[in-house]
């Protein structure tokens, strides 16, 4: 097959294509569907954004509210103890407590989950959990 034969065959096959009289109506309906989908997607994104924006501060406030009392308790203990003992081990929980107390006892790094850290710190300072 050379290019002119291909051209002829393409035209003959193309000419056999059926018409689609309602093409415009199909396109208009499709555009309408597409716009509704876009509006729905935008609405969902907006709702999710607002929900996240409202939820994050609430979670942050809730979590800080539950730890402030423990940290504050340890912080005051750290502040009191640091005056006499400057060689205490530290972890992230202690450092946060130290930051709250406005003093530093040590720069050692040992990260423990908060509950373990609290017990560790409380035991280190000879404190009982209130």
């Amino acid at each position: 097959m050379n290019s002119s034969e291909v051209s002829e065959a393409l035209r003959a096959s193309g000419a056999a294509t059926d018409d689609c009289p309602d093409l415009f109506l199909r396109v208009a309906a499709g555009v309408g569907r597409r716009r509704r989908r876009q509006r729905t997607a935008v609405g969902v994104a907006l709702v999710v954004t607002v929900a996240v924006a409202l939820a994050v501060p609430a979670v942050g406030a809730g979590s800080s509210g539950s730890t402030v009392s423990a940290e504050g308790y340890v912080a005051s203990s750290v502040r009191d103890s640091c005056a006499s003992d400057r060689s205490l081990p530290s972890n992230s929980f202690v450092r946060r407590a130290e930051a709250l107390a406005g003093t530093t006892c040590t720069s050692a790094v040992a990260v423990l989950p908060a509950p373990f850290a609290w017990h560790h710190t409380a035991r280190r300072y000879g404190l009982e959990q209130p």
């Binding site: 291909v6 096959s13 294509t17 093409l23 415009f24 499709g30």
Partner: protein
Amino acid sequence: MPQEPQGFHDFVVVRRHGLLRTARLLTGDQYAAEDLTQAALERVWPRWERIVADGEPYAYVRKVMVNTYTSWWRRAWRAEQPTQTLPELVDLEDEYAATDLHDAFLRLLATLSPRQRAVLVLRFHEDLTEAATAEALGCSIGTVKSQTARALTKLRLHTDPRLAMHDS
């Protein structure tokens, strides 16, 4: 129904035959051709005024259609599977021989890759130059030349002898 851009309806009425023919040759199927044409027109609807202002709406819609066709192919949205052997041979004694011949040629086109098929349709059905075909497909002129040569070679290899006899 959404607000129609000015002149869009007239364009569809006047140009739909040409678009459907091109889509039929690309997809090889009447229903897929209608879907492809519809999808291309849906895509150009929102920016129709700008497309008309640029001057060549038909060329733009055709370009969108070819790109849509190749993206559908990449997603394996195909009703046809290219095959080395044609499933049916043309029966020239049949009263529907002409229709069979067209179908045979479309099946032959289906053995080509989408890019090769698009190159042949744009070059030899739409009569675009190599430069215009390259622009429509977003590739170089050299690629158009090489794809054309490969497509024609492949067609020669797979041509049903009776199809060739009928052409001559």
